[in-house]
Subunit: 343 residues, 2 copies
DNA sequence: ATTAGCACTCGACTTAAATGAGTGCTAACG
DNA sequence: CGTTAGCACTCATTTAAGTCGAGTGCTAAT
């Protein structure tokens, strides 16, 4: 049996209707659709076929049909094709230029949540190549030195180092030159024990300071790895009865609060080399607790090899059309952002 | 009518029982309490009195009684008195020394959530006096200058400033000296327009850089004001049926995600000059959406006039005893923390 | 002052029946 | 042959009625 023209139309009508109402849709409802003038009986026959083909499901004997994961998949694929043509623009500017990165991302998450009425997430961009760009020690007061560490992609980290006795300007200068000449442009792998020992030797009595600085460098680069995730609109799930029974809601909220779980999504999105939008439907989700949801994700690029992820999570009957549109808009905004705003 | 010895005992028995079960408690249940040998009929009479006094409520004619807000208040006040004596210690160390502040606070929130099974929050410590402590410009690369700003309490902020042409070392040194000699130790109010104009004049052609730096300083100090809040265990609310109906749960989750709302709590806790634990019961809460909850909060001090807040939010029938204990423990941990760990 | 007893209330639960949306199948129709 | 009208059947949901029982208030006896 094949999916002919008419079956396709009926299938899409069923899904569309279900997306709107969240209720199983029956043959009579479809037969009333204007553009195909068929009686409910005919529709019933077709529906039986569609069920056999696995696109729709009957929750129980005397109920209408709802889309199966396969049905959603079909619908989404068709829609994505449609979408290739247009990239609409969200009306309002994402934000003013002077805002800081984290505010901006938080804002982006919120914007998506408000626009779609689903739960959303945005991860901070993460650099793929972690090399030290710049390093600076300065005297803060008699017993504290401030180390500023800048790694590729302008991730900046400060560490305060406590010292027993005050260092004079000349020593500070020497240490700065020593560190910068030897470490700049190196990745964390390249800063090995041999190099460290050599540096410490050259620094003489200030060896311990060098060690602390290098520790801080290592930590900064490492820390950059357990990335930040901004979420918004988690409470939107209560708008969809199929997600708001106690157990499910609790699990979902937990995932959003812990964020740990969301990282699985990132890995999955990142390994996919292509720069495209991904849609997970139900069981396709890499996150177990979200198998009653659909998830739409995309990568964005922040220049300098920095990449982050945005995602929207909602019920399987989400408005895929709108969601994909929103994701596209936000993605393109973020993609072009770093040119204007370098933080 | 007065609250005599026996009434007090009965009231406490009612509340205690209700805290455990979450169900209205009837006269027979109380009469079976060992230490006061009274028949259910007697209890009923007393209960009628207690209701008239406003300590307990009958949800409907033929149901048992549940505590009113006033009843809870009575119970909590009695308990707090009890608690003055002992400060128990949570068995495990809060965390290892080397963790960073935000990790630490996140950890604290989580620890409390796991311990109590309620939702929790911890705010980052905020300095009351915002004066500039230290300021440093350094050349990052040909077209970028890095400004590091340290304000009292060791809040550190970095800003990258883009410059048209590279500055030589001497100029950088001059600017650094200029800025530090004039600005160190000043609060944001003291850095007025007159001072800024004078500085710009002295800087000559580098006036625009000065301006950017000062903007960044102002922003840093301001930013410190919209403080960060860490939350944990929001999904715990699903463990209490009285909070998990859709509307309420949605509101609560929203408050926890937005965090904006939680700031009301902070203001309220802070204005209270005393360093004590506060308990809000039901309608007493400064946050409207939490009027079905109880909230327990405390301030902690992080040295240097830095203060933050910790709080636990749960159903009105929360285990006040345990909650107050936990809060006390965490508070004392945080209070003593800054001596060991200066970040 | 305390208690036993009893009538009464009312939410929660159980059961049964009615409802109605929706199906599958068959036979008739163009 | 595809389409449709008609009909018997299914089954979740709604509605109504009935039962249960925990709990109360009141009264009269101890």
């Amino acid at each position: 049996m094949e999916l002919d023209e008419r079956k396709t139309k009926i299938l899409q009508a069923i899904i569309k209707n279900y997306l709107e109402t969240g209720e199983p849709v029956g043959s009579r409802t479809i037969s009333k659709y204007t553009d195909l003038n068929l009686s409910s009986a005919t529709i019933r026959n077709e529906m039986a076929d569609l069920e056999e083909l696995g696109f729709i499901i009957q929750p129980h004997t005397s109920a209408g049909r709802i889309p199966s994961d396969k049905g959603y998949r079909f619908y989404v694929d068709a829609m994505m094709l449609e979408h290739e043509k247009e990239v609409e623009q969200l009306k309002d500017v994402l934000l003013e230029k002077e805002e800081k990165l984290d505010h901006m991302l938080k804002q982006a998450a919120k914007l998506m949540a408000v626009n779609t009425n689903y739960a959303t997430m945005v991860t901070a961009p993460r650099s793929s190549r972690n090399v030290l760009k710049f390093l600076q020690l300065s005297r803060m007061d008699a017993s504290h030195i401030l180390a500023v560490i800048v790694i590729e992609g302008n991730v900046i980290k400060n560490t305060v180092i406590e010292v027993a006795e005050s260092l004079n300007d000349e020593t500070m200068l020497k240490l700065n030159i020593l560190l910068n000449t030897h470490l700049n442009g190196l990745s964390v792998e390249e800063i090995n024990l041999g190099l460290i020992t050599a540096l410490k030797q050259q620094a003489g009595m200030y060896g311990p300071i060098i060690e602390e600085v290098i520790d801080a460098v290592a930590e900064t680069i490492k820390e950059d790895e357990d990335l930040e995730i901004y979420t918004s609109g988690a409470n939107n799930i209560f708008k969809y009865p199929e997600l708001s029974d106690n157990q499910k809601a609790s699990d979902l909220i937990n995932a959003f609060e812990e964020k740990q779980l969301l990282t699985q999504l990132i890995d999955d999105t990142n390994t996919e080399g292509k720069n495209e939008i991904k849609v997970y439907i139900g069981e396709e989700s890499p996150i177990q607790t979200m198998k009653d949801c659909s998830i739409v994700t995309a990568n964005y690029e922040f220049g300098d090899g920095m990449r982050g992820m945005i995602g929207i999570i909602g019920p399987k009957r989400m408005d895929y059309d709108k969601v994909v549109g929103t994701i596209k808009t936000i993605k393109s905004q973020l993609d072009t952002m770093y040119k204007k705003d370098e933080d």
